[in-house]
C-alpha cells in the first residue's frame, strides 16, 4: 500500500469528490421536488448558479492549463542555431 502523504492525498481526493457529488446532486435533482418554503433551500444558492459556477470553474481550469503550457513553452524556447 502507498504510505503517508500518498494515502492522505488519495483519500482526501475521494472524500472531496464524494462531498461535491452529494451537494451538487441535492442541488440539481432533489431541490425541485422540495416545497419552496422548506428550510433546506436556505443552504443552496438560486438554481442559475448551479450552471454558472461549474462553467466559471471550467473556464478557470482552462486558463490555468493554458498558462502552464505557455510558461513551459516560453522557458524551453531555444535561440535559432546559426551555421
Amino acid at each position: 500500500m502507498a504510505t503517508g502523504a500518498d494515502q492522505a492525498v488519495g483519500f482526501g481526493l475521494v472524500g472531496f469528490s464524494l462531498l461535491l457529488f452529494t451537494y451538487y446532486t441535492i442541488w440539481v435533482i432533489v431541490l425541485p421536488f422540495v416545497d419552496s418554503d422548506h428550510v433546506i433551500h436556505s443552504y443552496f444558492l438560486p438554481r442559475e448558479y448551479s450552471v454558472i459556477l461549474p462553467g466559471v470553474a471550467a473556464l478557470i481550469l482552462l486558463l490555468c492549463v493554458g498558462t502552464f503550457i505557455g510558461v513551459i513553452t516560453w522557458k524551453n524556447r531555444k535561440p535559432k542555431k546559426v551555421d
Partner: protein, 121 residues
C-alpha cells in the same frame, strides 16, 4: 458504423431530447419540476463525470503498491554496478541526490523478490 459515429448518434439523440424538453418545442406541458430538473442536465452530467474521475484517480493513488525492499535491493545493485565500472575506468555522471524509488505497477501484494513489475517513476 464506426464507434465515433455511434457515440455521435447517441449524443445527438440525447441532445435533441434535452432540447425538446428544455425549450418546450413540442408543447408537452410537462410539470414545472421536471422542466426545472432537465435543463441543467448537461452541466450536471459533466460535473458527475469529473467527480467520478477525481475519485478514481484519488483511490488509485492511495492504493498504489510500493515495493520498499525491491527499491533498496535495486539501489544496492546500482551502487555495486557503478563501483565495478569505475574500477574498469568508466566515468560516471553524478547521480541525483533524491533518486526516485521504484514502485510496483500492480496493486496486488507480492513479495519483493518476485515483484518483477517495478518501474522507476
Amino acid at each position: 458504423m464506426t464507434k465515433l459515429l455511434e457515440w455521435l448518434l447517441g449524443a445527438s439523440l440525447i441532445g435533441m431530447a434535452w432540447g425538446l424538453v428544455t425549450f418546450d418545442l413540442l408543447d408537452l406541458q410537462l410539470p414545472p419540476q421536471y422542466r426545472e430538473l432537465v435543463w441543467p442536465m448537461p452541466v450536471y452530467l459533466l460535473v458527475v463525470f469529473g467527480c467520478y474521475s477525481l475519485a478514481t484517480v484519488g483511490y488509485r493513488v492511495a492504493t498504489f503498491n510500493d515495493c520498499e525492499d525491491a527499491a533498496k535491493e535495486l539501489q544496492a545493485q546500482i551502487k555495486e554496478a557503478k563501483e565495478d565500472l569505475k574500477k574498469k575506468g568508466l566515468k560516471m555522471p553524478p547521480s541525483p541526490v533524491n533518486r526516485p524509488l521504484p514502485v510496483c505497477r500492480t496493486r496486488k501484494k507480492v513479495s519483493p523478490a518476485s515483484c518483477s513489475c517495478w518501474i522507476t517513476v
